[in-house]
């Protein structure tokens, strides 16, 4: 399977393997000794795990939203659809892993299903996450079945059945299915944010724009990931380029990036008025400004200036967009590291511990390994 791996990749594999082992050991240490091994303490009870959860949830949902559109587009390769759905699935799985890591009693996680409480945001996160995971699994299955039908024939039957139904209905069923999926993702997102905005103790969440901001972030992350994926596919896996998608991606990126800025400023104006005075004394506005420069202004500038430079458009711009979104999510962690040097820094003092960081790196490594395995298997198949 990995015969095409060179020496450099073996070193990378060994490095990832070590990080996975260290992460697993740290997780065992956390499980045995409790969440006290993390840097979390009252009043900061959510940290690096929840930051990662929100980021990967948005990333997975974003890719999936594009998949609903891509799946009904003619001229886009099945390989690209397959890799997109796999990335969405891995991203959503990461979100699931990170929320599990954050539980004080991980052994009781299934209580959310057996004692459901629909007023809880976490319950809706659970519903959304599982729904999106199921959708991405279906997309992965259908596109994989098209590029490489399963050797075990029984596994191909559902796809053949779905294909038969779609053909008879002249692809109408696929379009309706995609529309329903898109509607479901959006609706679930809005229900979750509605539950969040009802939280009495968090006036900074009391804004009708929270759902829209989350959706825009998800769409930006999804688009950036797909652009990177497509350029990587073209470079290494030999999947054909698709120009209309690139043009559309550029225009859509500029639109979403500008809309994101407008919504964030509107949100500060409408919903966060109560916390504005409190936050004005903290590092958060500085970080927000930084994230808007890195994640919004700079990408828009680069897209408009360098229209033909593939490295800038396919690699640098999407990475900047992803970094900007991550910066917005991770403000609580970053502020803790910089508070010593900034006199007006917020009094919150959460700093992730070494153990926490090792766990996060271990999870990242496992995800990278999974993606590498799928890509190399595909390249091997091409050979």
């Amino acid at each position: 399977m990995y015969t095409i791996l060179n020496k450099r990749n073996y070193i990378l594999l060994a490095f990832l393997g070590i990080l996975i082992i260290l992460g697993a050991s740290s997780f065992l240490y956390q499980t045995l000794n409790g969440m006290g091994v993390t840097g979390l303490r009252e009043p900061v009870v959510w940290g690096i795990y929840v930051v990662n959860f929100t980021f990967f949830m948005g990333l997975g949902a974003g890719i999936l939203m594009y998949l609903t559109v891509i799946s009904i587009q003619k001229g886009i390769s099945e390989e690209f659809k397959f890799f997109s759905s796999v990335i969405a699935f891995i991203s959503l799985s990461l979100a699931g892993v990170f929320i599990l890591l954050d539980l004080g009693r991980i052994d009781r996680f299934y209580y959310i299903a057996i004692y459901p409480h629909p007023k809880s945001p976490l319950f809706w996160d659970f519903i959304v996450l599982n729904a999106l995971l199921a959708m991405s699994a279906v997309y992965s299955y259908l596109s994989f079945q098209k590029i490489a039908p399963f050797k075990f024939q029984l596994l191909n039957i559902p796809a053949l059945f779905i294909g038969l139904v779609f053909k008879k209905a002249n692809d109408l069923a696929l379009r309706i299915g995609s529309f329903i999926t898109l509607f479901l993702i959006t609706a679930l997102y809005f229900i979750t944010t509605k539950v969040f905005t009802d939280t009495a103790a968090r006036p900074e969440w009391h804004t009708p724009l929270l759902g829209i901001i989350f959706i825009i972030s998800a769409l930006l992350c999804g688009l950036a990931s797909l652009v990177i994926l497509k350029s990587y596919c073209v470079d290494t896996a030999g999947i054909e380029n698709n120009k209309p998608f690139s043009d559309l991606a550029r225009r859509l990126s500029v639109f979403l990036l500008l809309l994101d800025v407008v919504m964030i400023f509107l949100n500060y104006g409408i919903g966060r008025r109560n916390t504005l005075i409190q936050e004005s004394q903290s590092i958060f506005p500085i970080l927000l400004l930084l994230s808007l420069i890195i994640g919004n202004a700079l990408p828009v500038f680069l897209i408009l200036v360098s229209k033909k430079n593939k490295i800038i458009l396919n690699r640098i711009v999407p990475v900047l967009i992803l970094a900007g979104v991550l910066l917005k999510r991770a403000d609580i962690i970053i502020s803790a590291y910089f508070r010593r040097w900034i006199p007006l820094a917020f009094k919150i003092s959460y700093v992730p511990t070494f153990s926490e960081i090792l766990i996060v790196l271990g999870v990242y490594s496992a995800a990278i390994l999974a993606i590498m395995a799928i890509f190399y298997s595909y390249r091997q198949k091409l050979k």
Binding site: N33, G34, M35, G36, L40, R41, E42, P43, V45, W46, D102, L103, G104, R105, R108, F109, Y111, I112, Y115, P116, H117, K119, S120, P121, L122, F123, F126, V195, D198, T199, A200, A201, R202
Partner: protein, 217 residues
């Protein structure tokens, strides 16, 4: 249908900030020395040159509109409807800490470490396990037992002596007699009487949680 609504009144004029209530609570409820269910906060009121340092106990507010109960994904946080007391079912808590994020009073604590470091362990109140949330219960075990035995719960106008009735540990041990406990629905209770006679306020009223702990100014 609510039979009773237990509430606490804190007379800030009498509180001296000695934190005896905190220690009494920790010992009665087997709370770790590093945690507090009953915190004593202090603030400064008034303007120059007439400043006044004000101490006040901050237990769980046992809110009528309880955001902590709403956000709990498993229903581990619940309200004992007949008494209006908000509790945590330790067997159902998954340690997600949503309730801690939702509480405007930061009245909940999480068991970050193994429960090893405590003053005493009350056999009636077992120590909570690692990775779950806990908080003030208004000494529910005492109220529960008193109900079963038919004892009087909370001080009344006729019986203002806190040593002769059943009240939470913090109330009974308060050095300055600044804490009062009783049924706010009962006009004969001392808490109702105090609220009628005095000017009072509740913490973070803007959050709309309708807390059941009142502060006499």
């Amino acid at each position: 249908m609510k039979e009773k609504q237990y509430a606490m009144v804190v007379d800030t004029r009498k509180c001296i900030g000695c934190k005896t209530c905190t220690i009494a609570c920790n010992m009665e409820n087997s709370v770790l020395t590093t945690r507090t269910w009953q915190t004593v906060l202090d603030t400064v009121e008034g303007g120059y040159p007439d400043y006044r340092r004000v101490f006040f106990a901050r237990p769980c507010m046992h809110c009528k509109k309880h955001p902590c109960v709403d956000v709990c994904p498993t229903g581990a946080s619940y309200e004992k409807k007949e008494w209006g007391i908000v509790l945590v079912n330790q067997r159902k808590c998954i340690g997600c800490r949503c309730c801690m994020t939702a509480c405007p009073y930061e009245a909940r604590v999480f068991n970050w470490e193994k429960p090893e470091d405590m003053l005493t362990e009350n056999p009636v109140v077992p120590v909570r396990r690692l990775g779950v949330v806990e908080k003030c219960t208004f000494c529910i075990h005492k109220i529960d037992e008193a109900h079963k035995k038919g004892l009087q719960i909370g001080t009344t106008i006729n019986e203002p002596d806190r040593y002769k009735v059943v009240v939470p540990a913090c109330v009974i041990e308060c050095v300055g007699n600044a804490l009062y406990f009783g049924d706010i629905c009962d006009p004969e209770s001392q808490v109702s009487s105090l609220l009628k006679k005095n000017k009072y306020k509740r913490l973070a009223e803007r959050a709309g949680t309708e807390p059941n702990v009142y502060y006499i100014e």
